[in-house]
Symmetry: C3
Subunit: 157 residues, 3 copies
């Protein structure tokens, strides 16, 4: 159903997603998305109930770029370090070069005092495209278990 190369491309995509986000390499993070893409953060409660309200919704790459530019130049938020743990990466469907991929995540945050805490846990429900051996996000749904997120969302989950 999948070649080893496709699997490794998917595994690498999630590893780079985590490492670019955590290192605030947001331009590299953006480049993990396909030219036509969407990204949303939604609570599991709303997702499971089929309710469309998101915590964040970017319906195009331009909206995603806008969010990053805003993060880099305009937003004010408590400086912190994110650390993404992503596990259980599983391909649930293959249609041509489009894969449905799910994974679990935990994001920990360290604040400016050096104190660590759990921030969010949840699952990704994504559509991934493999082109020329490299994988990109076409659609990314960040489904957060703890919809009552401890504080404002600033950096990407």
């Amino acid at each position: 159903m999948m070649t080893a190369e496709q699997r490794f491309a998917v595994y690498d995509l999630y590893a780079h997603y985590a490492s670019t986000a955590d290192a605030c390499r947001f331009d590299d993070w953006l480049n993990l998305f396909a030219p036509i893409c969407s990204y949303r953060i939604i609570s599991l409660e709303n997702y499971a109930a089929g309710m469309p309200l998101c915590l964040m919704l970017c319906e195009s790459r331009d909206m995603l770029i806008d969010r990053i530019v805003s993060l880099q130049r305009a937003n004010e938020y408590a400086i912190h370090v994110d650390r993404h743990m992503i596990s259980g990466i599983r391909v649930t469907q293959v249609q041509g070069d489009l894969l449905s991929v799910e994974a679990n995540f935990l994001v920990g945050q360290t604040n400016s005092e050096g104190e660590l805490s759990m921030y969010v846990m949840g699952s990704y429900h994504d559509t991934v495209q493999i082109s020329d051996g490299q994988a990109f996000f076409v659609d990314k749904k960040v489904i957060v278990d703890n919809g009552c997120i401890p504080h404002a969302i600033s950096t990407p989950i």
Copy 2:
């Protein structure tokens, strides 16, 4: 020693174990176990000391089914969302189609107020059978580091 296909079958087994448990798809979760199987949850303290007392023991598939039916129809417990992180999957022995597999786990829980906390951490010491390219649990030992689990065990670890 192992083919790439066997490895991927093992990786997928753990990914599906996590995703089916977390989504409360317990019938799919059951189907990850072989017809003749056992499942136990034991504290690391007892396991390391060679003491047999478990927190939960299912010595047959029927006992495992019974537990799931009870969970779905009879048990009362605080509704919550589990999220399994499983990493460090390692095959320690191969004997024919039976593999000894170990992995580390962390389960986070989100309560009905949307609050997230760590629930348990520990390791799996499992026997996995690969048949027709698919992997199944023949024996699963859930060894919990924090034997003093915060509250009653309801959903699978």
Copy 3:
């Protein structure tokens, strides 16, 4: 760029790193390092600023052995269980048989009362050598996000 065998050797190295450390099999843990090796634990704050001060620095295998002997025979510290979660393993460079490898980690700790807490999160920035199909650490940098570690460092991170 990399063969499947190389990837699996790297994945296995990190799985064994976690399992040997968590099981206090420190001699096996030492054997994951190459004869000429270095190991350091450094805060992300210092690492990002290019400041050399480490929380721990072993510039040779003998220093690493010394640390383990001290841990096994001399040190006094609160007995606990470590549990390493390692994810997002990514090879960023290949030069002959030397690989630059990064990964994210979370270490949870269970104290002697059976209580679980997060201990540290961060990333590994390592140089790994593959020889005869097996991978070893030549240089390991443990970069800790929460430089303000909750208590003394005893067992390896």
